[in-house]
């Protein structure tokens, strides 16, 4: 029973991180019909920057967010304006997959070049600390990572719901032609949307760096589950992605008890497969999600 509670709690903590990253991923698709394969490569890049920051300054990796979040936002706007915007609308989705795939490869290669393929891990004063709640032992770093993800997700929710920009963003997600007709500058929205998406990768990467061994090709390990989550949640739906992330993260964690760590990962693909067969547009997305 203890093991069950332990796994459940760990699953929720992991699900929070998945939710943040999947929300970013689904934002690109919702606003621009772009499948951003490089999202997890940027995640690993942020993790490396956090590691580099802490190793060289001795300061807490969370402080690196002050630099990485705005930096990633600007890079996101830049990537959208300079690269993605060049693609023809007719083949945008397919070509964006390949273009962002190319970006992912380039980042992975550069990371390997600069930091070498050696596995890295941040050493923190509180690295080994943990405490017990209801019979479940929780590592402090895991809780901080979850809190970070929760704060970022809440901020994202606030931006989407309460600001004027969020309103235009949601309008663009719902119907970009209509949004343009009522005077929303959809190009600008697309750029900022991309920037916000990448900013979530900066937060996620830092959260990841607190508690994981990182290496350049780690992003392939993340992209599969994240992609599965956004399809299951319904492409373009932020709440759908968050819900699917939580459900799948917890399932993965619970399945580790009977199946072991590796096999438990298959849950993402099994659910993805089943979703495509029985509900191709996912659980929250509109019919639209099938088309692109």
């Amino acid at each position: 029973m203890d093991l069950f509670i332990q796994s459940l709690v760990l699953g929720i903590l992991l699900g929070g991180l998945y939710a943040l990253l999947a929300a970013g991923l689904t934002l690109y698709f919702g606003v621009m019909r772009v499948v951003m394969i490089a999202h997890s490569a940027f995640l690993i890049l942020a993790a490396y920057l956090a590691w580099w920051f802490t190793t060289n300054t001795g300061l807490d990796p969370l402080l690196s967010l002050v630099v990485t979040v705005p930096l990633f936002f600007v890079v996101g706007v830049f990537v959208q304006r300079v690269l993605i915007a060049r693609l023809k609308p007719a083949t945008l989705t397919m070509m964006s997959v390949l273009l962002t795939f190319a970006i992912a490869l380039t980042i992975e290669g550069l990371l390997g070049f600069v930091f070498s393929g050696t596995q890295r891990r941040i050493q923190l004063p509180y690295s080994g600390a943990s405490f017990e709640v209801f019979g479940a032992r929780i590592a402090v770093v895991k809780l901080i990572a979850f809190a970070l993800a929760a704060v970022a997700l809440a901020a994202l929710y606030f931006v989407l719901k309460a600001t004027r920009f969020g309103q235009s963003l949601r309008a663009t997600i719902q119907n970009s032609e209509a949004a343009a007709l009522v005077g929303i500058d959809t190009k600008k929205v697309a750029g900022y949307g991309f920037g916000i998406g990448l900013a979530t990768a900066a937060v996620g990467g830092t959260a990841l760096a607190l508690d994981a061994t990182i290496y350049p090709s780690l992003h392939w390990h993340w992209i599969g589950p994240l992609m599965a989550i956004i399809v299951v949640g319904g492409l373009g739906s932020v709440p759908g992605a968050a819900a699917a992330a939580m459900v799948l993260g917890v399932s993965q964690s619970l399945l580790q008890i009977p199946m072991g760590t590796t096999w438990a990962q298959t849950i993402f693909y099994i659910v993805l497969f089943a979703t495509l067969v029985f509900r191709p547009h996912g659980f929250f997305g509109g019919r639209l999600a099938q088309r692109f």
Partner: protein
């Protein structure tokens, strides 16, 4: 008749000569390439160069296999490495566990993978664009997971040794030469199959799907069946390419067999050469394959080849999404006297043509 009026404006004066010249250039290029490929082993390259030749031909087979789906339907699969990997492992397992002869194993493996691809295609082809690509990516990731973890059967991360079909007494250079020609033979079979589909009603239907799937469907093309059929054909050939490579290389490691990189090579090669043309993927394979081997030899195991691959793919997507061969053809087009002499088939033409043909078959006007 629409066709008659469309071909009518051809300017007769001089046009046929120019067309013949263009045709001549094209034939000459193909014949030159064929002779070059066949003669290459006779020029006495060392075993290393010879092995690079085999690798490039293997890439050409994979890319051409990929192009059955990518070229005809426009569905970009990033996960075709799942099929080469499965083909390789199926060959290895059939030889080792079922003691089937290697060549029979090669054919059986391709058939098995083709059968496996039916449910996979059934799930992934129901969705378009993004979901399809994600599904294809997931496919190769799950295969990696399964083959790494299921060590009782697959040898797990330790890999699997596949016995050499020509026996240990055949020396390495000879081994390379035989497999070189075997790959050429497989490539020729694939090209013939692609060519046949390209000219068939089935092919016209597939291309209509590529241009506008909804319209194709509304014109009565059984789009799902067509997509599934070509997906299975593609899986069959891609698996056979993977199996032949496994027989040559003699060792399987899940990390390399089910690698996202292998799948992306196929896409890059096909795109670079031109997915709409018969020889495009093979040409792309020659260029990219050579570049990969060059980077590996030059920069060893640094991650530099990833950067090079990434930049190249990015440039192709941004500036040459049509590929080299279509661009060259367009260049030749400029020589042509008037654009109307040879009519490009537009999306609607393809759809109508295929629908009319489908209609004919069913006895409706």
């Amino acid at each position: 008749m629409r066709n008659a009026s469309d071909t009518a404006p051809t300017t007769d004066t001089g046009a046929p000569t120019v067309l013949r010249v263009i045709r001549g250039i094209q034939i000459l290029a193909v014949v030159g390439a064929v002779v070059g490929v066949l003669v290459f082993p006779l020029t006495g390259p060392g075993p290393f160069i010879m092995s690079v030749g085999v690798v490039i031909l293997s890439y050409a087979c994979m890319a051409t296999g990929w192009n059955f789906v990518g070229g005809f339907t426009g569905y970009i699969s990033l996960g075709h490495a799942a099929f080469t990997g499965l083909g390789g492992y199926a060959v290895g397992l059939l030889i080792l566990r079922a003691e089937v002869s290697p060549w029979l194993a090669l054919v059986l493996a391709a058939v098995i993978v083709a059968v496996l691809s039916i449910p996979i295609g059934f799930a992934s082809l129901r969705v378009r664009g993004a979901s399809f690509v994600i599904m294809s990516l997931a496919l190769v990731l799950i295969m990696l997971l399964v083959f790494q973890s299921w060590s009782d059967v697959t040898g797990g991360s330790n890999g699997m040794r596949v016995p050499r079909p020509f026996g240990p007494e055949v020396l390495r250079p000879e081994q390379h030469e035989r497999f070189y020609y075997l790959h050429v033979a497989l490539l020729v079979i694939m090209l013939l199959a692609w060519w046949a589909i390209d000219r068939s009603r089935f092919g016209a239907g597939l291309k209509a799907i590529r241009e506008d799937e909804d319209k194709a469907q509304s014109l009565g093309i059984p789009t799902f069946n067509y997509k599934l059929a070509v997906y299975v054909i593609s899986a069959f050939f891609t698996a056979m390419a993977g199996g032949l490579y496994a027989l040559w290389f003699g060792f399987l490691d899940p990390i390399f067999q089910f690698s996202i990189l292998t799948g992306s090579y196929m896409v890059l090669m096909s795109l670079l050469g031109g997915i709409r043309s018969l020889f495009g993927p093979a040409l792309g394979a020659a260029i990219v394959g050579y570049a990969i081997e060059f980077f590996k030899a030059q920069y060893g195991d640094t991650q530099f080849h990833l950067v090079a691959l990434g930049l190249l793919l990015g440039l192709v997507v941004l500036f040459m999404p049509e590929g080299i061969l279509p661009s060259l053809n367009r260049l030749l087009d400029r020589l042509r006297p008037s654009a109307t002499s040879i009519r490009e088939e537009s999306a609607e033409d393809l759809a109508t043509k295929s629908a009319v043909l489908v209609g004919d078959k069913e006895g409706t006007p």
